[in-house]
């Protein structure tokens, strides 16, 4: 267990609602090595977002535990960066201010991180927009700013909950490429939730396939494709075989029908 960066051990999550307890997730077991890009695919309501929040410590496990970097998760963990489906930028700050918000909230002086923030914005093509406000940016640009915000404090783990889900198809494709490049340059561990099978195969080293509620892990598929996953790689037969395998899991579980 000690060489695993993330260890999810028999984790279950039950929500208490007015209509009674809702068994959202588990029990699930998962091990992730440092530096891996792990995608979690599953239908809506399967608990994949819940799993992400449990790993981050933003939700409490109903049973089981999560061990992150050798330390059990007991509350919100600060050694993570999170990106959500909505960019959730602070409307009242400009792009640079939003990226710096991450470090300001951690008690640092914004000034010391300004060069790093600018560097990150530059790497995602937002350098000229650093003084624009979120309402002046497109969805894709806002999301790129959110990526920078999640990376500025150099966390070892980055959690992404369907970050490309709200974007148009073209932007989505472009950002997938950008995301892979960023990950390859920084060597971080990434947990990436998505409901797109092709997206998971394109980006991940491992794809965790989840079934419908209550969320259980049906299968973990190891993706052995060369990196970077260029268009040639994505058009190769092996890519489609992986997509097919994962689709089969969903067909078996009734998530998809023939």
């Amino acid at each position: 267990m000690s060489d695993f960066f993330i260890a999810v051990e028999d984790v279950t999550k039950v929500y208490a609602t007015k209509a009674g307890p809702v068994h959202a997730l588990g029990p699930v077991n998962l091990s992730v090595r440092s530096g891996d890009f792990v995608a979690i695919v599953g239908p809506s309501g399967c608990g994949k977002s819940t799993l992400l929040l449990l790993v981050a410590g933003l939700l409490e496990c109903s049973a089981g535990r999560v061990v992150l970097g050798g330390v059990e998760v007991r509350g919100p963990r600060t050694d993570v960066g999170i990106v959500f489906q909505t960019p959730a930028l602070a409307d009242w700050r400009d792009v640079l201010g939003n990226v710096l918000l991450q470090v300001e909230l951690r008690g640092h002086k914004a000034r010391t991180f300004e060069p790093r923030a600018r560097e990150l914005l530059d790497s995602v093509g937002l350098r000229e927009f650093e003084h624009r406000f979120p309402f002046e940016l497109s969805g894709g640009m806002q999301q790129r700013a959110a990526f920078c915000r999640a990376l500025i404090h150099d966390p070892p783990l980055v959690l992404m909950d369907e970050p490309l889900g709200a974007l148009d198809a073209l932007t989505r494709e472009q950002l997938r490429t950008d995301l892979e490049r960023l990950w390859m340059n920084t060597g971080k561990t990434v947990l990436f939730v998505t409901h797109s099978i092709t997206e998971s195969v394109q980006l991940a080293d491992y794809v965790v396939v989840m079934g419908p509620r209550p969320g259980l892990i049906e299968q973990v598929v190891r993706i052995e494709l060369p990196r970077p996953r260029t268009i040639e790689v994505r058009e190769a037969p092996q890519f489609h075989r992986y997509v097919h395998d994962i689709t089969e899991v969903f067909l078996r579980r009734g998530v998809l029908t023939r």
């Binding site: 929040l53 410590g57 600060t78 960066g81 909230l105």
Partner: protein
């Protein structure tokens, strides 16, 4: 070219509208020979302002002071209280029902009681203005402090920021737009509160003056006072709007849709 600037054009159009309206008013009354005590023409109203200028001015200051102090106290009490209620389950369960219950009580009904307790002084009027402006501020304030998007909340929590840091850097700026809604509603009510407080237990102020004027059928003076009171109300609302423009320039409510007409 000067008129192409949006605000100048708007201001100019409004001013023109007001002038035309006043001229028509004057004209129609003269043509129809409407008696003075029913509806006075603008010229008569203006003459009243000239004759009683110093008294009107003094009374305006009195009423304006009641409005501003009452409003300020309501903000000073309402905003922090809204924050506390929004963030504390305990306070929500204990204080919130009482504030709602108090809202249901017709506050004007308390006015005679305040006169009994505090006499004809400044204090009861401030209390009445405060009571009337307090509720929009606190109700909108509670909503304001609660309206943080979950993702922004989760993000803040993952930074490990403490409650103060989160409040100043995230919750407070996020709450401003909705807070201003409450402030603007309260502003429109403030002048009314002062006037009614003066009717019940006043010896000075525009409301008091209005009561005397109406009682004596000095309709032209009454109209003048009403116009003045409206201006006071508008001025406060406008001041809050200007503050809003300065503090939340980024908000969607401050943007003019850039569409070709």
């Amino acid at each position: 070219m000067f008129w192409r600037h949006r605000w100048v054009a708007l201001g100019g159009a409004t001013a023109m509208g007001v002038i035309v309206f006043l001229l028509l008013w004057e004209l129609i009354l003269n043509v129809l020979h409407v008696p003075r005590y029913v509806l006075p023409p603008p010229s008569a109203i203006f003459r009243q302002f000239q004759r009683h200028f110093s008294l009107i001015w003094r009374y305006t200051l009195v009423t304006e002071a009641e409005v501003l102090v009452g409003y300020a106290v309501a903000i000073a009490l309402g905003v922090p209280l809204a924050a506390f209620i929004a963030f504390s389950k305990f306070l929500e369960r204990t204080l919130y029902p009482s504030t709602v219950a108090l809202e249901m009580v017709p506050k004007i009904a308390f006015a005679p009681l305040f006169v009994t307790w505090f006499g004809f002084s400044f204090l009861p009027k401030i209390i009445i203005v405060m009571l009337i402006t307090f509720f929009p501020i606190i109700l909108n304030g509670i909503l304001a402090f609660r309206s943080l998007i979950p993702e922004l909340f989760y993000f803040s929590r993952s930074t490990g920021a403490g409650p103060w840091m989160m409040f100043w850097k995230v919750r407070a700026p996020a709450a401003l737009p909705q807070l201003f809604v409450g402030l603007k509603i309260a502003a429109t009510n403030a002048a009314v509160g002062a006037v009614i407080a003066e009717w019940i237990g006043g010896d000075a102020g525009l409301g008091y003056y209005l009561q005397i004027s109406a009682g004596n059928m000095w309709t032209d003076l009454s109209f003048g006072i009403i116009v003045l009171l409206s201006v006071l109300g508008l001025a406060l609302y406008y001041a809050v709007s200007v503050a809003e423009r300065k503090l939340i320039p980024w908000h969607v409510s401050q943007r003019v849709l850039q569409a070709r007409s």
